[in-house]
């Protein structure tokens, strides 16, 4: 039989058929809807929005879009897919707003916002975007589940605080949400809070320095007309009455009246106040039927809400905050969500202080109650004696006994209730993951102390009083232990934050102190005791991870005799605490002779894709250790999609985004911002943000971030140095001088700080001070107290040594470099050895010891063991060749034959201070074979510009005879080359973001400094050239505004 065959018999009679038809066409009832399957609804959504996603069901629908649950086939994870409703497909404004929502969401990279993964079009051309599928409940459902508004108030205020921080972040990016309400706040299973539904969000032109331009969010509508919300348009008012009601209840008057030009961040502040109002009183500011709510919202009639707030019994500070946020006049509200967040955070911190004070008082009360209890026991004994005498009056005694039992039972009831509450909270806390359960532990301890207080204020009986005391002591100790663990986790984060900046011995000392303070002392405890101590903690893995960081420090830190330290004991402890086989394998690679190969083998293996966060971090750290920065970054970024709220992951991505070639400054800024929002009390994210702002030429913002970091860590040498440099670059010479003075006064100055001080001394014309600083800095770096490994430190050495040579002490620089090579030859990484060899080779060149220089270059080239060193090898070989022919070249007896030879010879000539010769070689190279020279070295033209500017400024050993006209010509040529370079980087074949990279570099290139400063340029090249350079830099800044991002 086939499907098209007619039925031989009819299924049932008419009544039965009616029943079937009723079931087939009936509308789902609201209760049925709750359990009705999404696919059971009319299928107006595609089951395949794209080849990548499978639709598994519908999660909900709003006025504009439908949210589906889907499966990402590529990443094999569930996602939420928001698709424009089919009836709006032809509605351009709604379609544009939908796209804008996705872009705004994609732009907001914060743990408190729902991450947008991808955007695209369905097979029927409707726009869609995918988001993280948030597992949890809406704040609306959590609030509705409370029996009384006073229930779990502390928990909801904590949630509110997180909402405020997320919205504050959005405000700092120039985005206002405009539809904040409990239904748009998701609370995850581990207490994480995310603000969802940015469908009505608006990008405003005002805001902080980080406000994105409209282009950054895909040209989101910004005109007044665009800001009218779809939910308030008359045509949709009736069809979406529910949405309007839900939204209006939290809406400020100016928004409800449709005064779109007045809607700014303070509109969100009102909605935050409305949310707080519901948390405190159990209902939003406006309640009633739709007409009432609509009218009250329009005129801001809040007398009912304010009266409810006044009698809700919450802390006065919270009530005052809610009242301030709900001011009908926007000007009377807090300025933005950050102000609200600050107030809530301050309130919660004050509560914590009060709770600690109460703990102390409770302890004192317990002691006092003990004395009273002893006195009472004495009294009871006496009473019993008397009662014994009265036994003859048995009836009276029985009555007394009954009364006593009744009194005790009455007194015991609140004690039992509080104890039960404390135990339930403790069970909850034990079931939750740390550190989200911290507050729950404190709630449990507080409930147990309440039980104890209640026991001592009445006479519930000895047994229950002892039980309450014991429970209070146990849970207070448990909460305190979790506090210690939390402080330790923060301390480990802080030490990791100083990882790339502080000298190894300092990092080592920090680790040692942190672990000793926490209760693990490697010098006095045996391994078993240490393992047991760590395993007893809920945060054992994190704490073991800290030890792993310590191992890496020790591995890089030679002992006083220059020998590697033994860290096997640390490894054994780590394995004891964390026996995970993959993490053990990763740790054991530290002992491998070819560590890089074994780490790469793990990273390339199929299992790496499924590593959890902890293992991924381990592996990433090891990739960094073997200088695979790009690989580590890729690994971290893939994991970040799964764990965006992890501080360590965020800051690692931020840090290493600055170290790849070319640096990803925008990424560094975004991830460091995310890290700062997770752990706002650690300076490292602010230092990274400062560096990113500095690199992006926003010096005031950079200085602000460095200052913020220094408020938390005044001894952060690099932050202080970079602050000084940012102030100097931003034109604040006086502020820079003050900061340089502070850097000079620091005991643990980083090499970069030393170099900055040298520059500062040279600018002031104090050559002797500069020389003394250079010698002292090199001696410090080479003393064995500091490990030279890592790009920054080996580059620092090269910079300091070459600067010392430039100052006339080439012999001193060479002697120190050779000594440090001997000292670190066996211990350093290949890249460090390579850099030191190149430095030595350049110093030999500068000293005129060409044969030795050639040999040193060859030795450096021989160290080029991987792809990344190929460029260095070519550069070294090229320079070696140039060195061999330099005399013949200078006398005109030898000519470069290829573009590569021209480039190497020109660069070498520039190193030899033969600026005029270098300029001539660059000019001929470009005239002869422009593309060839560019292809030989992408940075050739920038070096050429440097050479031309040296000639123009009269700097160099061979420029004395040049005329004023020739120098002006060199300046003009430099500008032409810059313009050529700008054009080349806008060609279709140029890498994406190449232009932006170049423009940013020119704006901060120290060699171009003289051309950026009108006064200096005028003095060096004359007024006409100075004007021309000013115009060039104006164009560079203008182009930077529209240059494609990397």
């Amino acid at each position: 039989m086939t499907a098209s065959d007619p039925p031989p018999t009819k299924p049932g009679d008419d009544a039965e058929l009616d029943r079937l038809l009723a079931a087939a066409f009936a509308r789902p009832s609201p209760s049925a809807e709750a359990v009705a399957p999404a696919p059971d609804r009319p299928l107006d959504e595609p089951t395949d929005v794209s080849d990548r996603y499978v639709v598994l069901g519908e999660l909900g629908r709003g006025g504009v879009g439908v949210v589906l649950r889907g499966r990402d086939r590529e990443l094999e994870r569930d996602v939420a897919i928001k698709v424009l409703r089919p009836e709006h497909a032809a509605h351009e404004a709604l379609s544009a707003r939908f796209v804008a929502e996705a872009r705004i969401g994609g732009h907001l990279e914060h743990p408190g916002t729902v991450p947008v993964y991808e955007m695209g079009r369905t097979k029927d051309a409707r726009p869609y975007f995918t988001m993280k599928l948030v597992q949890g409940r809406t704040l609306a459902s959590l609030l509705a589940a409370r029996a009384d508004p006073a229930d779990e108030r502390a928990r909801f205020v904590a949630i509110f605080e997180q909402v405020c921080h997320a919205v504050a972040y959005a405000h700092s990016r120039g985005v206002i949400h405009r539809d904040l309400k409990p239904a748009n706040v998701m609370v995850g299973a581990f207490g994480e809070v995310q603000v969802a539904d940015w469908g009505l969000a608006k990008v405003v032109g005002v805001g902080t320095e980080e406000a994105p331009p409209a282009a950054a969010v895909g040209g989101a509508p910004r005109s007044a007309g665009d800001t009218a919300t779809p939910r308030l348009s008359s045509s949709q008012f009736h069809s979406q009455a529910g949405s309007v009601l839900g939204t209006l209840a939290y809406m400020p008057p100016e928004q409800a009246r449709g005064e779109v030009e007045r809607v700014d961040a303070r509109a969100d502040v009102f909605s935050l106040g409305a949310l707080l109002c519901e948390i405190l009183t159990g209902a939003p500011p406006y309640v009633g039927d739709i007409t009432t709510v609509f009218e009250h919202a329009r005129v801001g009639r809040l007398d009912d809400a304010l009266a409810r707030l006044d009698r809700c019994g919450a802390d006065a500070e919270l009530v005052a905050l809610a009242r301030a946020c709900l001011a009908a006049d926007p000007a009377a509200r807090p300025r933005d969500a950050r102000d609200v967040a600050t107030s809530v955070s301050a309130h919660r911190a004050a509560l914590g202080e009060r709770a600690r004070a109460a703990e102390i008082a409770a302890a004192a009360a317990t002691a006092k109650a003990g004395e009273e209890r002893r006195a009472r026991r004495l009294t009871t004994a006496l009473a019993l004696t008397i009662v014994a005498a009265l036994l003859i009056f048995g009836a009276a005694w029985l009555k007394s006994e009954r009364d006593q039992r009744l009194r005790q039972e009455t007194a015991a009831r609140p004690v039992r209730d509080a104890l039960a509450r404390a135990r339930t909270l403790a069970q909850d806390a034990a079931a939750m993951a740390a550190p989200a359960n911290l507050e729950r532990w404190h709630d449990a301890a507080a409930a147990a102390r309440q039980a104890s207080d209640a026991a001592h204020s009445g006479d519930p009986g000895e047994a229950i009083t002892q039980e309450a005391d014991a429970e209070a002591a146990r849970l207070t100790a448990a909460a305190a232990e979790r506090d210690r663990d939390q402080a330790m986790a923060i301390e480990i984060g802080r030490i990791f934050g100083s990882w790339n900046t502080a000298p190894w011995p300092v990092v080592d000392a920090h680790f040692e102190r942190a672990y000793r303070d926490w209760g693990v002392d490697f010098s006095t405890m045996d391994d078993a005791a240490i393992v047991a101590r760590i395993r007893a903690s809920e945060r054992a893995i994190e704490i073991a991870q800290g030890i792993f960081g310590w191992i890496r420090t020790r591995a890089a830190l030679p002992d006083a005799h220059g020998e590697p330290r033994d860290f096997r004991r640390f490894l054994a402890v780590c394995d004891g605490v964390d026996p995970d086989p993959w993490r053990t394998k990763i740790r054991m690679s530290l002992l491998d002779r070819d560590m890089r190969r074994s780490i790469l083998a793990i990273a390339d293996g199929p299992a790496a894709r499924d590593f959890d966060l902890t293992t991924t971090l381990f592996l990433g750290f090891m990739l960094v250790q073997v200088e695979e920065y790009g690989r580590a970054l890729d690994l971290f970024r893939a994991m970040w999609l799964k764990a965006p709220a992890d501080y360590v992951l965020s800051i690692e991505i931020g840090e290493w985004s600055t170290s790849v070639d070319p640096p990803r400054w925008s990424d560094a800024l975004a991830y460091a911002t995310a890290a700062a929002s997770i752990e706002p009390e650690i300076p490292a994210p602010f230092v990274v943000m400062g560096r990113a702002h500095d690199a992006l030429c926003d010096w005031p913002a950079a200085a602000a971030k460095f200052r913020h970091a220094l408020e938390m860590a005044p001894e952060h040498g690099l932050a202080r140095t970079w602050l000084a440099l940012a102030l100097f670059r931003g034109g604040d010479d006086e502020g820079a001088a003050q900061e340089f003075a502070r850097v000079a006064a620091m005991a643990d100055r980083p090499p970069a700080g030393e170099l900055a001080l040298v520059d500062d001394a040279l600018r002031r014309g104090d050559a002797a001070a500069a020389h003394a600083r250079l010698v002292a800095a090199l001696d410090h770096l080479g003393s064995g107290e500091v490990n030279l490994d890592g790009e920054e430190r080996s580059r620092d050495w090269g910079d300091l040594a070459l600067r010392l040579a430039e100052s006339g002490d080439a012999a001193g620089a060479l002697e120190r470099t050779e000594a440090v090579i001997r000292r670190f030859n066996l211990l350093s990484r290949p890249w460090t050895q390579y850099r030191l060899q190149v430095t030595r080779a350049e110093l030999l060149l500068g000293s005129g010891r060409l044969d030795e220089a050639v040999a040193a270059f060859d030795r450096a080239a021989a160290l080029a063991a991987d792809e990344r060193l190929v460029r260095g090898r070519a550069e070294a070989a090229g320079l070696a060749g140039a060195a061999r022919h330099f005399e013949a070249l200078s006398s005109g007896e030898w000519e470069p034959a290829s573009a590569a030879e021209f480039v190497a010879s020109a660069r070498y000539a520039q190193q030899q201070q033969s600026s005029a010769l270098a300029f001539d070689l660059w000019r001929r190279a470009f005239e002869g074979d422009l593309q060839g020279a560019r292809a030989a070295d992408p940075s050739a033209r920038v070096d050429a510009v440097h050479a031309a500017l040296s000639v123009a400024a009269g700097e160099g050993a061979d420029v004395q005879g040049l005329t004023e006209g020739a120098r002006r010509h060199a300046s003009a040529t430099a500008r032409v080359w810059l313009a050529d370079e700008m054009r080349a980087r806008t060609q279709p074949e140029a890498p994406r973001g190449a232009l932006r990279t170049a423009l940013e570099r020119w704006l901060r290139d120290p060699a171009l400094f003289v051309t950026r400063d009108r006064t200096r340029a005028s003095a060096a090249f004359g007024a006409d050239e100075a004007r021309a350079w000013a115009a060039t830099f104006a164009e560079i800044r203008e182009r930077l505004k529209t240059a494609p991002a990397r």
Partner: protein, 233 residues
């Protein structure tokens, strides 16, 4: 795969293949309803588990699709057919979820009769009811699809059934709205019912298989299932 014209076993066999993403989507579309209904009924009065209905529904499908999972082991000859098979998988997943939440019971706060957890026969009926509901809705869907490919009259007849059973509009009101004679609408109504009956027959035949007589019996049983009695086809 043409989802509308595949028998349940075709869908199952196709979905059991490792590379069968579209088939799996079709499988999910067809069978999510009874699974959710069953889990929702089972976890009444257990608020924490209630929140996990979506995830557990997903788990049932994961259980079916994983390599060597339930679909690969599904037996066409098994007593009770596919319904019993799927019911078994859903029950297995439910038990597993309950095992992972042993303390849920102490937090349950029954608010009334609706919140009382159901016993196994009740749960089975909830599953069967949702199953029957899914079949009759699939029939309506099939009829609408065929009407969309047919003439205006066919589409009007679908609309007529919707007005009658979804909006509860009497035939004479519909006739007045459409500006046609009530007798003609009655005639159309009778024809629409026949078309629905045919669509339902086709859906049940494809879903459950069997001889024409068996299919007719299974159609008739749907009413009992919808009303909470009887056993599923």
């Amino acid at each position: 795969m043409d989802g509308a014209n595949s028998t349940c076993w075709t869908v199952i066999r196709a979905a059991a293949r490792a590379d069968a993403a579209p088939e799996r989507a079709e499988f999910v579309r067809r069978y999510a309803a009874p699974i959710r209904a069953y889990l929702g009924a089972r976890w009444r009065g257990r608020p924490r588990l209630r929140e996990e209905v979506d995830d557990a529904t997903q788990e049932v499908f994961v259980e079916c699709f994983r390599q060597g999972g339930a679909l690969a082991k599904a037996d066409e000859e098994r007593a009770g057919g596919f319904r019993a098979f799927l019911y078994g998988v859903a029950r297995h997943v439910a038990l597993r979820a309950e095992g992972a939440r042993p303390r849920d019971a102490q937090f349950s706060t029954p608010g009334g009769l609706d919140d009382l957890p159901a016993d196994e026969p009740t749960l089975s009926r909830a599953f069967d009811r949702a199953w029957a509901q899914a079949l009759v809705r699939a029939a309506a869907h099939r009829m609408a699809e065929e009407a969309a490919r047919g003439d205006a009259g066919a589409r009007r007849r679908v609309e007529l059934l919707r007005r009658r059973f979804s909006d509860g509009a009497p035939i004479r009101d519909v006739a007045r709205e459409w500006g046609v004679d009530a007798a003609r609408v009655h005639h159309e109504y009778a024809r629409a019912r026949d078309e629905f009956r045919a669509a339902l027959f086709a859906v049940v035949a494809l879903e459950c298989g069997g001889t024409a007589g068996e299919v007719a019996r299974q159609c008739a049983q749907l009413v009992q299932l919808l009303d909470g009695g009887g056993r599923a086809p």
